[in-house]
């Protein structure tokens, strides 16, 4: 079962890659840095315990929306770039 969860994670990374290819159609060793931490942050904000045992996919999505909205809002509020990166881990 534990292997299955890792396989699922790989599968989801592949689906994300399909979306990425469809949008950017570009690959480089430099892109994708820090995406894993964005995902971990979104999942933790969504209430999933770091010790395991509980979690919800929908709440993880809400966490992702929250982070993205905060970053988007900082851009719109003309907050300087170094300051606006703090919501990201």
């Amino acid at each position: 079962m534990q292997v299955l969860t890792f396989v699922l994670s790989g599968l989801m990374a592949a689906f994300a890659a399909v979306v990425m290819v469809a949008r950017l159609n570009t690959a480089s060793g430099l892109i994708g840095n820090g995406w894993e931490f964005d995902a971990v942050t979104a999942v933790v904000i969504g209430g999933t315990s770091l010790l395991g045992g509980r979690g919800s996919v929908i709440k993880s999505m809400q966490g992702a929306i929250l982070i993205t909205m905060i970053i988007n809002a900082m851009v719109l509020l003309n907050i300087p770039s170094p300051t606006s990166t703090w919501p990201r881990p």
Binding site: A13, V19, N25, T48, R54, M69
Partner: protein, 317 residues
């Protein structure tokens, strides 16, 4: 008669008070459950006032597009973190799959996408085998996989940015359903809908999410957050070897849980034989690890190994 009326009135008032109290508690619990949504709505309300452009459809769909990729990755991460693991290689895995898809574009017929999906799933499978079968910590395994895949991407792309030219995919990436909702957002929503019941109804979900699941596993208490629930959960987590279950006295398991250890995997036996997270460590051994990496790096330079291969092989180590 008057006394009876007074008693009936008192009982009625008591029932009403209790009902309203239960209702209020229910509303409070519901609000507590949806606090992230409330924060999001609060931010939207404030920004709609301060920067009206924020609530324009272009900006909202731009946010949703950015969220779609993180959400798709987050689905896999949620399942992993429910089992107290995590995957640091998802970002590199995604870039690796992207590279495979673009490099094999000439195959046509969607074969490149199938190969990309297969490659990323295979990387996930290798991670899983290393963690579950060889008992290597998920942090170490996935960190290594992250560097390994990034090294592979650098090798495949020859340190350059490569581009594809598949128009069908562009149509998917930039198109929108009914001219309103971008397809990437639709794809993320479909995956969320597919995998949300998965958290509640599959074996994985039923064993891992007694609090989030709509159907609690039999035997779990109705109250939330009690150590007993966690104990039951520990018994049901699939990652825990069955042979140790009988060997652990319940009071020891409860103590482990109260001490904050992660349920399931680390409750393997009586004190001394188990290996809970965070209990072991040595500054000297950490230094030895750093020394090993330094020696490896130096050896690779001495052997004229290219930096890309060096990075990739350090991921393997």
């Amino acid at each position: 008669m008057a006394k009876a009326l007074i008693i009936v009135a008192a009982v009625y008032i008591d029932i009403r008070t209790r009902r309203s109290r239960v209702k209020r508690a229910g509303v409070r619990a519901a609000l507590g459950e949806q606090k992230i949504l409330l924060i999001i709505l609060g931010i939207v309300a404030v920004l709609a006032f301060v920067r009206p452009m924020f609530v324009s459809s272009e900006n909202l769909f731009n946010i949703l597009f950015q969220v779609s990729i993180t959400s798709i990755i987050g689905i896999g991460m949620t399942f992993l973190m429910i089992g107290a693991d995590f995957d640091l290689s998802v970002g590199s895995n995604m870039v690796f799959a992207t590279t495979v898809a673009i490099l094999l574009e000439g195959l046509g017929g969607g074969l490149n996408l199938a190969a990309a999906v297969l490659a990323a799933t295979l990387a996930g499978f290798v991670n899983g085998v290393l963690v579950a079968k060889l008992k290597i910590n998920s942090f170490i395994t996935t960190l290594s996989m992250m560097f390994f895949l990034r090294g592979l991407v650098l090798i495949f792309t020859n340190k350059k940015t490569i581009s594809g030219s598949e128009h069908a995919l562009f149509d998917f990436g930039y198109g929108s359903l009914f001219g309103v909702v971008p397809y990437p957002v639709v794809a993320a929503a479909v995956l969320l809908v597919v995998f949300r019941p998965g958290a509640a109804r599959t074996v994985l979900g039923a064993t891992c999410t007694p609090w989030a699941a709509t159907r609690r596993p039999p035997g779990c208490s109705a109250r939330r957050g009690r150590p007993e629930d966690l104990l039951l959960l520990a018994d049901r987590l699939p990652v825990r070897p069955l042979r140790h279950r009988a060997a652990v006295p319940p009071e020891l398991r409860l103590r482990h849980l109260r001490d904050g250890h992660r349920p399931g995997r680390h409750l393997r036996g009586p004190a001394g034989r188990g290996e809970p997270v965070g209990r072991e460590g040595s500054v000297f051994k950490a230094f030895l690890g750093i020394l090993l990496l330094g020696v490896l790096s130096n050896a690779m330079i001495a052997l004229h190994v290219t930096p890309i291969c060096s990075r990739s092989s350090r991921g393997c180590c």
